[in-house]
């Protein structure tokens, strides 16, 4: 657990609970407390579209277990969700639906563009696919891969958590209306398949 500004040594809390603190009160400003709370219960909306949705569900299931980060509740209703993981290719027919779901989410809200199709259209550069979901909603973190493995998705989520924690994201949203647009690196071997003849 990271050191929280104004919260004292959080490792101590993690290991011993509040009882481990030398003082039975915490000093800090409201903003960092709120950010801390937002980071620790970031509920994603179920917005599975294609292949990436399977990996997103795999990330939530037994082996990768997103519950460790307070994120296992994929909310069916966008009204209850903070984070939209756009998992898969967005077609021209789906784009208005995507925007509507995004608009229905409560502020503050964040978007992870999962996979190359959502980020840039990927290999499907044609009439049917929106070439990058950032044309429809502001994107905070882009996760590469086709599909990104659960490790990469978790890396994207941590990156987002860090941004939420520092409050950086909301400042930027206020100024420009755009997402953070961070591109992360891939954390698993899913960059490419085998090269034939190697």
């Amino acid at each position: 657990m990271p050191h929280l500004p104004g919260l004292g040594d959080t490792n101590e809390i993690a290991e011993h609970g509040l009882g481990g603190l030398e003082h039975n009160f915490i000093t800090g400003n409201v903003e960092s407390l709120v950010n801390w709370a937002r980071t620790r219960s970031c509920w994603p909306a179920t917005f599975g579209l294609a292949c990436c949705a399977i990996e997103m569900m795999a990330a939530g299931a037994a082996h990768y277990d997103l519950a460790r980060y307070g994120m296992e509740v994929f909310r069916a209703s966008p009204r209850q969700a903070d984070l939209m993981i756009v998992a898969g290719r967005v077609s021209q027919k789906m784009a208005p639906v995507l925007r509507q779901v995004y608009d229905q989410m409560m502020e503050p809200k964040w978007v992870i563009s999962m996979g190359v199709c959502a980020s840039s259209g990927g290999m499907f550069n044609n009439y049917a696919i929106v070439q990058g979901v950032d044309q429809v909603v502001p994107v905070d973190v882009y996760a590469p891969g086709c599909p990104p493995g659960p490790e990469t998705l978790m890396h994207a989520i941590f990156t987002l958590h860090e941004q939420i924690h520092t409050g950086e994201l909301l400042k930027r949203r206020d100024e420009t209306g755009a997402g953070a647009g961070l591109v992360i690196e891939q954390r698993d071997g899913q960059t490419a398949g085998l090269t034939i003849g190697s």
């Binding site: 044609n126 049917a128 953070a180 591109v183």
Partner: protein
């Protein structure tokens, strides 16, 4: 096109050795021109005789419609390779039928002219053709006469054009490769 009986029987006898006799025998009765490719039995027909041929095939045990699709031959580079007697048109509706008891399959290729792209629906014979025909309508603009719900299925209702036609562009957006400005 009138199913040229002489041609079809001649074709049948000529190619009869290549495939088994039972494969060709029932198919000759449906009309159309037979063109066995490997083990596939392919029947060529035109818009006028298509539904009769399909009905005859169904009566003969081909009760399962496996697939229905279309091809736009507008920019086909090679010779079409159609058997004698078949008038080549721009579109072709391709229907795959299967006899679930014997496992036999036949493929019906219908020549559909570009100026009036319409064929009879197979919905009354095989209700399973509903979605497939809607897809062909959506992607090629071929109308299926008397189809219960001739509307777009994959593209939005207000979409203009039929994407799988060869004169419809892929819709590629040029990608400018540039370094991302905010990689950490």
């Amino acid at each position: 096109m009138v199913a040229d009986d002489d041609t079809s029987t001649a074709d049948d006898e000529a190619e009869g050795d290549a495939t088994t006799a039972e494969h060709d025998a029932p198919a000759t009765r449906y009309g159309g021109i037979i063109d066995p490719i490997g083990t596939d039995v392919v029947l060529h027909t035109d818009v006028a005789t298509y539904s009769d041929l399909a009905a005859a095939a169904k009566a003969d045990g081909f009760v399962q419609l496996v697939d229905l699709t279309a091809v736009d031959y507008l920019t086909y580079a090679a010779p079409r390779g159609l058997p004698a007697g078949v008038v080549a048109e721009r579109f072709e509706v391709v229907t795959q039928l299967r006899n679930p008891d014997s496992g036999e399959r036949i493929r019906i290729r219908v020549q559909v002219p570009a100026d009036a792209p319409a064929v009879a629906t197979l919905f009354d014979l095989w209700p399973g053709s509903e979605n497939l025909e809607r897809e062909v309508y959506d992607m090629f603009g071929i109308d299926f006469v008397d189809h219960p719900d001739m509307s777009r299925i994959l593209m939005p209702d207000d979409w203009v054009g039929h994407p799988l036609r060869k004169d419809y562009a892929v819709g590629e957006i040029p990608v400018q490769f540039k370094a991302a400005s905010n990689i950490r």
